[in-house]
């Protein structure tokens, strides 16, 4: 009896997962192109503060914040906070207040070396009744009692708590937004429509509280925000990507990624380094290199991740050392996405030069039913 219940539960988990496999891999095939949703086009200028807000005309959008936090007694945490908005492309004519036009998904993760594995929670809800929404005009997303909001002065407020852990942070920008790609038009593949609008806010000065097991810790640190929206994103041959966003100690900011193909090839690569002066340096594909140094096998999913890597942008080489190995976000219990999302230290010439977040997706084979 218990066995069969478990079996059912597992089955149900995978079924929910199917809806979001799409989101975690973001492979959108051609048939899913809609006449209603807009494509991402080059030569489009981002306009602020409007573009801080939601873009319901595009299929997928996310606000994604990662960062390093430190308590008064120098204990270190890594954190990740993500709000997704997904347009179902359905229910246009449906006047019901429940009509599922947009779905909000939120991920919360905390890396604590004292715990040794990633603590994480997810929630999903349809927009409506003010219980879940993504506002236009300025950043304002909410899912039940979790929210992320950008105040008039540009400071972000985040409050996300679950029964056993949570965050309440205030994130103040210290630099201008960093427009990725061509003025915010960021390509993800060989086809021109495989692109997103993408800006980052590096070097967010962060203060707030970390809640853990009914204790609270005052923290401060540095964070990184990505806001990205698109309709068609990845090539159908894409297998996953390696991504890093890092706040370097000298005030510069590095973002680079590569999209891996199913045949072990590389479909796309991108890297940008913004100096403190604001000058952007872009690198060509062959100037960009991700080289695994150490692999870690997840005991939860049996996926093998290159948790420590050597990365190269042109002549500069960094080494990535994870805060801890087990920073895998295994949400097969709810939304189905599985990826490694971890706090890493950047080492150059045997010296720590910055802190960032490494994201590794597509290392788990889709489970066969």
């Amino acid at each position: 009896m218990k066995q069969s219940y478990k079996k059912n539960k597992k089955r149900f988990v995978m079924l929910i997962g199917l809806l979001f496999l799409m989101i975690s891999v973001m492979t959108v095939n051609d048939s899913a192109l809609s006449s209603r949703l807009l494509p991402v086009l080059p030569d489009h200028l981002l306009v602020f503060p409007n573009d801080y807000g939601a873009h319901p005309d595009f299929r997928l959008e996310w606000w994604y914040i990662t960062g390093w936090l430190e308590t008064d007694d120098k204990k270190k945490f890594g954190f990740q906070v993500t709000f997704f908005r997904y347009a179902t492309d359905l229910n246009f004519g449906n006047p019901s207040r429940f009509a599922a036009k947009d779905v909000v998904i939120a991920h919360l993760a905390l890396s604590d070396p004292a715990v040794g594995r990633l603590m994480h929670r997810e929630k999903t809800a349809r927009e409506g009744f003010d219980l879940a929404y993504s506002k236009q005009g300025n950043t304002g997303v909410k899912l039940d009692d979790w929210f992320l909001v950008r105040e008039e002065n540009g400071t972000y407020q985040v409050d996300m708590r679950s029964e056993d852990f949570g965050l309440q942070l205030s994130l103040r920008p210290t630099q201008k937004p960093m427009l990725q790609g061509d003025q915010g038009f960021s390509r993800k593949g060989p086809k021109p429509e495989q692109a997103s609008y993408y800006y980052s806010e590096p070097h967010l000065s962060t203060t707030g509280t970390v809640f853990k097991n009914h204790q609270s810790f005052s923290v401060d640190g540095v964070a990184w925000l990505d806001h990205e929206w698109s309709t068609a994103y990845l090539d159908s041959d894409a297998d996953g990507w390696d991504w890093i966003g890092a706040n370097l100690d000298d005030g510069s900011a590095l973002m680079m990624f590569q999209i891996r193909g199913k045949k072990g090839d590389r479909i796309w690569a991108y890297a940008a380094l913004r100096e403190v002066s604001g000058e952007m340096r872009f690198f060509t594909a062959n100037e960009i290199e991700f080289t695994p140094i150490r692999m870690w096998e997840s005991p939860h999913t049996e996926a093998v991740y290159p948790v420590s890597m050597r990365i190269r942008t042109g002549e500069i080489e960094w080494q990535l050392i994870p805060l801890m190995d087990d920073q895998e976000l295994d949400s097969r219990q709810s939304t189905g996405a599985v990826y490694w999302e971890g706090a890493v230290t950047l080492i150059k010439d045997n010296r720590s030069v910055g802190q960032g977040y490494l994201e590794l997706t597509g290392y788990v084979r889709p489970l066969t039913l």
Binding site: F12, M22, L90, S96, A125
Partner: protein, 850 residues
Amino acid sequence: MMLNRWLLVGEWRSHIGQALVTLLAIAIGVAMGFSIHLLNSAAFNEFSAASKDLSGQSDLLVRAKTALMDEALYPQLAVYDGVAVANPVLELDIAMPGKRQARGDYKLKVIGIDMFRAAQIAPDLLGVPEEGKAMDRLADDTIFLSPAAMSWLEVKQNDTLSFHVGIQSVSLRVAGGLVRARSGQSIAVMDIGAAQWRLQHLGKLSRVELKLKDGVNHAVFKDKLEQHLGTSYAVVELENQEARVANMSRAYRVNLNMLALVALFTGSFLVFSTQALSIIRRRQQFALLRVLGFTRRQLLWQVMIEGMMLGILGSIVGVVLGYAIAVSVIEFFGGSLGSSFFPGIKPDINFEIWTALIYFVVGLGVTLLGSIVPALEAARAKPALALKLGSEDAAMKKTSFPWFAIMGLCLAVIFTQLPVLNGLPVFGYLAIALLLIGSIALIPHVITWLFAATVTFRRHIRMGAVGFLSLARLENAPNHASIALGGILASFSLMVAMAIMVTSFRESVDQWLDRVLPADLYVRTAAVGDLGGFHLDTQQIISAFPAFSRVDFFRTQQVLFDVDRPEVTLFARPIDRIDPRNTLPIINDETHAVIALDSLPENVLPVWVSEAMVDLYGYQVGERVMLPIGASTHEFMVVAVWRDYGRQFGAIQIQLDDYRTITGDSTVNTVALWLQANVSMQQVIEQLRQLPFGKELEISRSSDLRAISLEIFDRSFAVTYLLELVAVIIGLFGVAASFSAQMLARAKEFGMLRHIGMTRHQILLMLATEGGLLTSLGIMFGFLLGWGISLVLIFIINPQSFHWTMQMYLPWGWLIMIAIVMLITATCTALLAGRRAVSKQVIQAVREDW
């Protein structure tokens, strides 16, 4: 105990037929009881589990007193302090075209859910779309069906399912199955937004299920929330849900179980008669055993062991048979036993070992009960007397206790005056049992008095030797006679009682249907949830037809009065202001007063309530009551009670105008139409069909509705008829067994009669006369007793179980027919048994050591 076994085997071997019949009777009694219990409990448990599954792991649910609530409450509840998850649900039963209404399973339960909320409370309800079509679960044109619903509706994945909602048709794509549904459970799931839109319930929810945060005190939370929500909402716990489901079918289940017990009871009577006669027959054998050194205790033990063996074997066969019957009934007819209490499920029968044991013990107990009196008597007999011839009748003298019988009957009368116990007519059933036992115990005395009274009559009238002998025999051996008579009495009286009850009920329903279906045509829209269906414009179109002499609009709704009970039906319709009796089947007698409408104080709204409202909610004529109609509660005065055989959980009627003023809802669900004298019904139906929304209308002639109602009535009594038949057959077995046992016991008497010159033919004639006289007596008493029992059934048990009263009607034709059949059967049995006894050699019959 070699001897015990030897005696037992010897007895059974020589009377194997009797032993088998007794065994079979016990087995059938146990089997009926056990299978009915299994079927009912399986159906009930499955139904209850299925309703529970729909609410998943929620702690509480919030619903409105009316069928549906405003969705605006949902976001309030979602952020209410202490709530972990709030799961909004819109649940509607939708009539499926082409499915028969009379079968009670024409509605599909469609559940609208928000998958993201439901996943945390009732994950089983999530749809399973085709691979790669995950978004079907949020689409506005899809529906997911349980396997049972798919096979019932004969659709598969990607087919289109079409049905009517109000006066519009809806087509949805079957996008797949469900994560898990109970086998046989017919349900459908849609996205809640799609359901609100497609099923025309924008802004409405059926309920919001709540899961509370860990550590929240449920009772405190519930109190607080109830205060916050006010009187038009109910906060329902799981126990309330269970109680509600149990209340829905309890009276029905208990009544069926009682009927099954009646079959077992007649079986025990059969045990008694065969055991008693076997003891009379073996009187000398037992006396001999006593003389040879058997103690009383050993003899008692011997007879009890015989009974026990019969009981054990019979009960084992009965339990196995009962299980087999239950399994095959589920297999071939489904689990509802003809009732419509458990729609949309197909239960599995589990062999419940403890219940099986209970039925085994009941079967054995009944058998032991049937053999204890004969056994005591056998043990008590004085061996010296018993060894003599002709003492057989004396043997049973002590079995009749006149005081016990009179006491039983008196107690029965007292019990009929007692109220329900725990909502069940327990005392009514006890009264019936006491009436039966008391009457049977009284029989030997009645026979003696009766035939003694014929002595004078016999002196004056010349009658043949045969008649004289028959009467003398009946007068002087009343115990033999009473055993046979008891069987006839028991089975005939039960048959009469059931026949009178069912006829009275059916006649009353028939007359009631005349009163409640006065119009020629009834036009309805496909009923869905709370939907009115006909808006003012469509109402005007229909009213404008020249073919109608009168048009009445009805608005019906389900209203929750008590969270532990099923909903009450609210009718809003025009009720004749001058004489409401023209509209409603009002009861106006010494116990039911009626308040004239013109004597009502100003601004007091009248409400007419069904009898169930009086029983269940204590409503009294003249009482002012608060009714949850519309958005809040309103005060009404109960002005009269009306009879309702349609809704045993209660119904109330108010003026349509009052309803519209209170709620502002001008829609209606049903239109009653009276045709002009010169208009043909067929023509009118065609005209209605040609309306823009004509295809979606459900148009019924009142004669059709009537036929459907009576068909439903007959089907729900089908099981009753079957049980009754079984009881009668067992009763007839008892008669046959007691006659043939008597004949064998009287072989010596027949031998003697042959010796003094009676012909074989005369003896047979004598037997036939005896049998005929006894049966006639049995039928006479049986009729009286049956009539008495039917009074209890009609005036005590029915009102207490189902909350409706009825008038009594006697089905004379049928009663006379079964009386004749009974008379012929019993006389023939007596004759057949007699032929065997008489066929023995005269010399052999009078020998002592046969």
